[in-house]
């Protein structure tokens, strides 16, 4: 999900007015900001949002050129791989496994704080994670930790019901006692 809805959510997160967001004739997402400036493309839109925002997340995403580059790398990853891949059963499995591996040694995608990269992937992968059974989630404990961490932030959750990760806990405990 790297579309109109995702842009709106991320704009809310950053505390920036969304402006007018829609798909153009080529199905590319575009945004017309308050100053009537038109930008097209998901990554470019996020960049413009970050520039307008004064939030911590926006600041952390632009703290240095290196961080900025890494953040855009992950946004591209979200657009090109996560969003389409999460609809395919086999690709999504690989996707979850890859991300889970990544989060073994990292708390966030870039640096040591929440950035736009986390937001972009979070919203792109939301539906996929939502569809997982507790058994499935058990295989992705590190990814679950990251996801749960983000969804607990009210500005990220934005009124969506919290996905349940606590059963992982119970499940762990239960299998433990059965052995």
């Amino acid at each position: 999900m790297c579309d109109v809805a995702a842009v709106q959510k991320i704009a809310n997160c950053l505390g920036v007015p969304t402006g007018k967001v829609q798909l153009n004739e080529e199905q590319v997402v575009t945004r017309t900001s308050g100053q009537n400036k038109l930008v097209a493309g998901f990554t470019t839109i996020l960049e413009s949002l970050a520039r307008e925002s004064k939030s911590e997340t926006a600041q952390n995403s632009t703290v240095s050129r290196e961080v900025q580059a890494q953040v855009y790398q992950w946004i591209e990853y979200a657009v090109l791989y996560v969003a389409p891949g999460s609809k395919d059963k086999h690709v999504s499995k690989q996707l979850l496994a890859d991300l889970n591996k990544l989060f073994i040694s990292k708390s966030y995608f870039v640096g040591h704080f929440i950035t736009l990269a986390d937001l972009a992937v979070y919203y792109a992968i939301f539906d996929l994670v939502k569809s997982l059974t507790p058994m499935d989630k058990e295989n992705y404990l590190n990814l679950s930790r990251w996801f749960d961490h983000l969804q607990q932030r009210p500005e990220i959750q934005q009124g969506e019901p919290l996905l349940n990760f606590t059963t992982i806990f119970l499940h762990n405990w239960a299998t433990g006692t059965h052995i």
Binding site: I104, K106, H112, H149, F169
Partner: protein, 428 residues
């Protein structure tokens, strides 16, 4: 916004808690200049404000005084650090602060302080295992939690982080910390927060664990002057090569908690050889020569330097050679004995050889140590193996001894029954 002065010595992990908390809240904290540990905090003026005389201690701009690092950190913290508005998260913060003080700090001190030379080496210590249990608990917690309390960094993270600093700096080398991947991830995340970086400068994760160095401990004890006139000794340390490190070492016993104080009170394990005159023979020099030079050089060197007044040469023969079977098992017997005699190493040297082959072999060796009597009786630690050997003192001046020493030091010849030399082990 709080402002005030923090009294501490440099690189005090307890003071870090307060300084990091201040970074988050923007509290203006000045670290007292010219603070001399053992002097400033023992002065009448200081004791009047802080009766315990312990650091870190904090004085607000209005002259209100606060001691105990966790309290100071709480005072200086932002709302987020205190756990936000939710009482449950606030309690979780307290829970982890207590965990740090009760579970982490004691095991960390018990493990790391002997290696820094602050405490004597403990026999049969379980410090490492205890620390592993604590790390295991943390690792489990951090598998599904990004931070310890709530979804933001709190004092819980800062206090636990600070309490783990010694472990991550000195003993958790990559192979040791590998099983605690979640703790490592969390630790690195906290370490790299800009607010933490501003306080904990140039921190490097342990590359190679410290090992116990009796010399360091001896030096440290010498500096303390038996502990009685610690304060008087303190200023001299400033002239040392590494004043920072020295001061740090000297300071820490002061803030040991009760458990460690009890540990420190235990009789120090003294080197039993200390009672004997030192003589002129230097084991280190000889061992270096023996390791680096050909026997043709090192054996004459041995006889040239050997001091028969204060040192003695012994011949030890395994009593139950008929029970020896596989060669490798016999070799393990020898190296096992060497390991159990570890504390003797500094004042002894031996070459123990195995002659013969599987199911037909003997073990015998030439030993040299300080003193004229059988050294093994000096310490209960050394009496595990010596009784299975027949010990004979050798006359250092006789030709026969020279021959025997030469044979054993150069790993050559045969045993009495003509079995050929098979393997040798050196105790040095």
């Amino acid at each position: 916004m709080s402002t005030g002065t923090l009294y501490t010595y440099p690189e005090n992990f307890r003071a870090y808690k307060a300084l990091i908390a201040a970074q988050y809240s923007g509290a203006k904290v000045k670290v007292a200049e010219n603070f001399k540990f053992g002097e400033t905090n023992k002065s009448a003026e200081f004791l009047k404000k802080f009766p315990s005389g312990k650091v870190p201690a904090f004085e607000t701009a209005e002259g209100k005084c606060l001691s105990e690092s966790n309290a100071i950190a709480y005072f200086l913290a932002s709302e987020q650090l205190r756990g936000g508005k939710c009482p449950f998260v606030q309690s979780q913060v307290q829970q982890w602060i207590s965990f740090a003080d009760n579970e982490i700090v004691p095991v960390s001190c018990a493990w790391v302080f002997p290696l820094l030379g602050i405490l004597p080496q403990q026999k049969n210590t379980t410090a490492k295992q205890d620390a592993e249990v604590v790390l295991q608990q943390l690792n489990k917690k951090l598998l599904d939690a990004t931070y310890l309390a709530g979804e933001r960094i709190t004092l819980a993270d800062i206090v636990v982080f600070c309490s783990l600093l010694h472990l991550y700096e000195h003993v958790l080398e990559p192979s040791v910390r590998k099983p605690y991947g979640n703790v490592n991830r969390w630790f690195v995340t906290i370490l790299n927060q800009p607010q933490v970086q501003a306080v904990v400068k140039d921190f490097k994760l342990c590359e190679k664990a410290l090992v116990f160095d009796p010399k360091k401990y001896a030096e440290f004890q010498a500096k303390l002057g038996g502990g009685a006139n610690k304060q008087a000794q303190q200023p001299k340390q400033k002239e040392e090569k590494k004043p920072k490190a020295a001061a740090k070492k000297a300071d820490e016993p002061e803030d040991l908690d009760a458990a460690d104080e009890a540990l420190a009170m235990e009789p120090k394990s003294k080197d039993p050889f200390d009672a004997m005159p030192k003589g002129t023979f230097n084991f280190d020099d000889f061992k270096r020569c023996y390791s680096n030079e050909e026997e043709a050089k090192s054996i004459p060197y041995f006889f040239e330097k050997f001091d028969p007044e204060n040192y003695s040469i012994w011949y030890g023969e395994y009593k139950y050679s008929q029970e020896l079977s596989k060669v490798f098992m016999s070799c393990n017997l020898i190296t096992g004995m060497f390991q159990r005699l570890d504390k003797m190493r500094k004042q002894a040297f031996a070459s123990v050889c195995l002659f013969g082959e599987d199911n037909n072999s003997t073990i015998s060796g030439v030993w040299v140590w300080r003193g004229q009597d059988l050294a093994f009786t000096l310490s209960p630690d050394w009496q595990i193996d010596y009784e299975v050997y027949e010990w004979k003192k050798l006359d250092a001046k006789s030709e026969e001894t020279k021959k025997l020493v030469t044979q054993y030091f150069s790993w050559a010849g045969t045993d009495k029954e003509g079995r050929k030399f098979n393997q040798g082990k050196i105790f040095k």
